[in-house]
């Protein structure tokens, strides 16, 4: 038997030969001792090779096979959670912007409503129609205590006038700065208050 005969015999065992060739090989195996021995040897070797594979296949445990495969696969990209997205979004500049917006909202929410100038104690002036109510401003933000008295810090009089200051005894009283003429030759003090109407 040559190599071609061995190949043909192998194909015969695999059932891969054409019917005429298979019939010829079957006749040779049945009639020729050499072909018969080769056929038997090849068949045994095939069985010897198949047996361990089949045995291993039978004894193999396929439980958890897919889980193992999945475990070795690279993890798919996971969608970031809400917290992760917030962390990525709230960078320091954004936090500054949000803080500014919050401060502005608090300012607008807590800002007192504009109040008109009081009707008293300036009614005479308020009667002038061109005077508009004073809205809240940076000035008004610092609350002015109208009960505080007017303070005279300094007086300079280089002429003949005498300056007297009448300060209120009680809080909220009236401050009057008197400018008095010196008595003239006739002894007329003019606008100077008399004993009865001395302002101080």
């Amino acid at each position: 038997m040559n190599d071609q005969d061995q190949e043909k015999l192998s194909l015969f065992l695999d059932g891969a030969l054409a019917p005429e060739d298979a019939a010829e090989v079957a006749r040779l195996v049945a009639t020729d001792p050499e072909w018969k021995a080769a056929h038997r040897a090849l068949k045994l070797s095939g069985e010897m090779m198949r047996a361990p594979v089949e045995q291993a296949a039978r004894s193999a445990n396929f439980d958890g096979l897919w889980a193992g495969i999945e475990g070795r696969l690279p993890a798919p990209e996971r969608a970031p959670s809400l917290l992760e997205r917030l962390r990525a979004f709230l960078t320091p500049p954004v936090l500054v912007g949000l803080a500014a917006a919050a401060a502005a909202a608090a300012y607008v929410a807590t800002r007192p409503a504009p109040t008109p100038a009081p009707a008293s104690p300036s009614p005479g002036l308020a009667a002038t129609p061109r005077i508009a109510p004073a809205p809240e401003s940076a000035l008004a933000a610092a609350p002015a205590d109208a009960s505080e008295p007017v303070v005279i810090e300094g007086i300079e009089s280089e002429g003949s006038k005498t300056v007297l200051v009448s300060q209120p005894v009680e809080p909220g009283g009236t401050t009057v700065i008197w400018l008095l003429d010196a008595p003239d030759a006739a002894g007329d003090g003019a606008a100077a208050p008399t004993t009865d109407d001395d302002p101080i």
Partner: protein, 166 residues
Amino acid sequence: MSVLQRFRAGLLGLGALLVLGVLAPAGDAAAGEPGLRLKVSVIQATKEKAAPDPALAKIQGELQEAFAGYQGFKRLQAEEKLLSSDTPVKLELPNGESAEFKHQGLEKNLHKIRFTLAKSKVNLDLKAPLKKMFYQAGMKHGGGILILAMYLAPVGEPPAPDKPTP
């Protein structure tokens, strides 16, 4: 630029505008540009009893109490001036005198005012709170005296042009 980046940039811009909006008024105040109105009513007081001036109706009682020797009060002039620390504000009075006012700053909610009566050669430095009436009185005029009723108020809107009110 992604949507998130554009949103973030927009939010930053909005925040910056809001910060400027919130801080701007405080900045003006801190810069010493408060804007201050001075209202002055020039009143003639006489010892003769006269019908109450409707223009003074609401301070009639205060006038009678503070100037007890006088029984007639008539408003001659009403002025409203915007005070400045740069230039004195001048007010011509019916007796020929001129009064000048200059804002000299703010100290513990009291406005420092330099008040000058030029012809009388009198200068006064005073501190007054907002919305509190105070008076200067004693200058002779028309058989009585002149009373300047003064009142400081924050700026609402620019005052109308001067218009003497009899």
